[in-house]
């Protein structure tokens, strides 16, 4: 498993392909699930033109590694890769990549969702948005309702 916290843009699909070619055993995984979080141009009712992402070097990596290990303890994970940016981020750029390789899709889906959700809850990052009204710290993340029998809320007709 690998955790990278870096400044500057990245191509999540290239990073996933490169990591798979370098690190995954050939022929053992039947599923790779990737989550890519990108920057919206709106949040909490305001247009957002740019974002700065602060982190706590050392603590951030440690807590993402812990979350990946917890996922590997719960599901059959062959490997996992997390790349998260810090610093200045522009609209539509990727912020975070979570990629999980497993023999079967259910384990890959569940482990990927676990990693991104607990990363958002525990990894010490803070977003500061630039809006027409000035800069503001984001006070909370949107919630993931999780998977249940109803699934996530349907979009309104």
């Amino acid at each position: 498993m690998k955790v990278i916290v870096q400044e500057g843009p990245f191509d999540p699909y290239q990073v996933t392909r490169d990591y798979e070619a370098q690190s995954l055993p050939v022929g053992k995984h039947g599923a790779v699930v990737t989550f890519v979080g990108t920057m919206r141009d709106f949040n909490d009712g305001h247009n957002v033109s740019a974002m700065f992402l602060e982190h706590y070097p050392g603590m951030t990596e440690r807590h993402i590694e812990d979350v990946c290990q917890e996922a590997a303890d719960k599901w059959d994970v062959i490997d996992a890769l997390v790349l998260h940016r810090h610093g200045d981020i522009s609209v539509s750029e990727p912020i975070v990549l979570v990629a999980v390789w497993s023999a079967h899709r259910a384990h890959a889906f569940d482990a990927c969702r676990y990693i991104i959700n607990y990363l958002k809850e525990r990894a010490p990052f803070w977003k500061r948005e630039s809006t027409a009204q000035g800069q503001r710290w984001v006070e909370h993340n949107t919630e993931d309702p999780g998977v249940n029998s109803q699934g996530t809320k349907q979009k309104s007709a």
Binding site: E54, Y56, M59, R122, F125, W126, H140, N141
Partner: protein, 78 residues
């Protein structure tokens, strides 16, 4: 004992600095007592998160010489 205190995001803005180095006397000093030393005028904000040596903890945690204590708001990564 000597403690390094770090502030992140809006806690750094609120404190007006990123870091303090604090020398404390006494056998047992908790995070709560450390906070009163670095911020005598303001109570510890209710939603603030606390880490000691990069692990989450709470204000009752007893400190040791050389500890690094961090105060920061709820996290918003991902």
């Amino acid at each position: 004992m000597n403690i390094t205190v770090r502030y992140f995001a809006n806690m750094r803005d609120r404190m007006g600095r990123a870091e303090d180095s604090v020398s404390l006397e006494g056998e047992t000093v908790t995070v709560e007592e450390l906070w009163r030393r670095v911020s005598p005028q303001q109570a510890l904000p209710a939603n603030v998160l606390i880490a000691v040596n990069m692990e989450y903890t709470d204000a009752s945690r007893a400190l040791k010489n050389g500890d690094e204590v961090a105060f920061f708001p709820p996290v918003t990564g991902g």
